[in-house]
């Protein structure tokens, strides 16, 4: 097992039990790997750093939303790679590029390289958040943007605490769909 795999897996296990700092470190490290991966892949489709950054954000959001689908009994790298590749193919299909040309490579490739030169992406998440239903907007705004606790957010949005958690989860899923529509156009 590579060091990257064991370190990332350790971070994911901690993130699974609700450790925010590990979750952040995991997403930071994965964004470097994802950026290198997408830049390399998109180069063959004449797409640039902006599209790569769009995909990095889409993949990070997907990894966050679907982190419960990682099975701790399995290695993490193939799971990350499967999501990264799924989002790449989805993007190419939306932008009407032939998906037949996406070569299958080794799952370990995803952690082979790092790239920390973030480019601008093409959409504004804050603007897209404004399209969500009010409850989701308030819950995500309070907890994820302002950093309030779930209890404080519940008071602010006049919702119960479980409703805040559900609104955040559904809101992020809806946001992922909005981004997918945006990147197609």
């Amino acid at each position: 097992m590579s060091t990257a795999e064991s370190e990332l897996r350790g971070l994911m296990l901690a993130s699974h039990s609700g450790d925010s700092a590990s979750h952040r470190m995991l997403l930071e490290r994965l964004s470097g790997h994802l950026r290198a991966y997408y830049k390399r892949k998109l180069a063959s489709f004449a797409k640039g750093a902006t599209e790569a950054e769009d995909l990095v954000q889409e993949a990070l959001l997907a990894i966050h939303i679907h982190r419960h689908s990682y099975d701790p009994a399995e290695p993490l790298t193939p799971w990350v790679y499967a999501i990264a590749r799924y989002k790449l193919i989805d993007f190419l299909r939306r932008s009407k590029t032939s998906r037949a040309d996406v070569p299958i490579d080794e799952a370990d490739d995803i952690t082979a390289n790092d790239d920390h030169f973030a480019a601008e992406n093409s959409y504004d998440i804050r603007r897209l958040l404004g399209k969500l239903p009010k409850n989701m907007q308030c819950a995500i705004g309070a907890v994820k943007l302002e950093g309030l606790s779930v209890a404080e957010a519940a008071q602010k949005c006049r919702l119960s605490e479980p409703a805040i958690k559900v609104s955040i989860h559904r809101g992020l899923k809806a946001l992922a769909n909005l981004i997918a529509n945006e990147v197609k156009a």
């Binding site: 699974h16 930071e28 689908s69 099975d71 193939p78 790679y81 499967a82 999501i83």
Partner: protein, 213 residues
């Protein structure tokens, strides 16, 4: 919002995850699918009148075993396929085993029967009803299973759709077996096997549309 801001936002107040969610949803959906399908079939088509006789019971057990074998094997695969990257762990031929066993049994039965009976054994009176019923009944379990699989994040939508269809077809065949009086092994192999395969193909076609995330 740039990527660093996104990472910071997603990392504020991270909730612990429910690692058993997918397993629980699929298990619950499977149980619900079996109960709903059995209920629908027994109300709509009714249970075969002779099921208390030893002769009928023996055939019923055979057909139910065939269907249960398909459902059990396919469910294990479905559970793996539902997770990202799960498609790389399912390269074996087990799902074909129940079909192979049914076909083998059918061939042996035909070999021991006089040729004049073959037509009657294969084209039992009920073959058309069977062809129509199993795929139609399968719609209910398929819908319930799609709901559960959508809680996960499959990355091979065609195969995941196919296995969702296979489980649904198996559940449907299980329920239909309680009604159906076509008992010969060739009849079961061709009409049950064929319609379950049809459900699998339908699932593979619908998968990319229904399971996208």
């Amino acid at each position: 919002m740039n990527t660093d801001e996104l990472v910071a936002a997603l990392s504020r107040h991270v909730e612990p995850v429910d690692r058993r969610l997918i397993r629980r949803s699929v298990a619950f959906a499977l149980a619900a699918a079996v109960i709903v399908t059995l209920g629908l079939t027994s109300v709509w088509l009714g249970v075969r009148a002779d099921f208390m006789t030893t002769h009928a019971a023996a055939f019923l057990v055979g057909k139910v075993a065939f269907a249960i074998a398909i459902v059990c094997i396919a469910s294990i695969y479905l559970l793996r396929l539902a997770r990202p990257g799960g498609e790389h762990k399912v390269a074996s031929l087990w799902p074909i085993a129940p079909f192979a066993a049914a076909i083998l049994l059918a061939v042996v039965t035909l070999a021991f029967a006089p040729q004049s009976h073959w037509n009657k054994m294969i084209l039992d009176d009920e073959w058309l009803e069977c062809v129509l019923s199993i795929p139609i009944i399968a719609i209910a379990p398929f819908a319930v299973l799609v709901w559960a699989v959508r809680k996960a994040a499959p990355t091979d939508l065609v195969r995941t759709g196919a296995f969702t269809g296979l489980v649904a077809g198996g559940v449907s065949a299980l329920a239909y077996a309680l009604h159906c009086t076509g008992d010969s092994a060739p009849f079961v192999a061709i009409w049950y096997g064929g319609t379950i395969v049809l459900c699998t193909v339908a699932g593979a076609v619908l998968g990319p549309k229904l399971l996208r995330w």
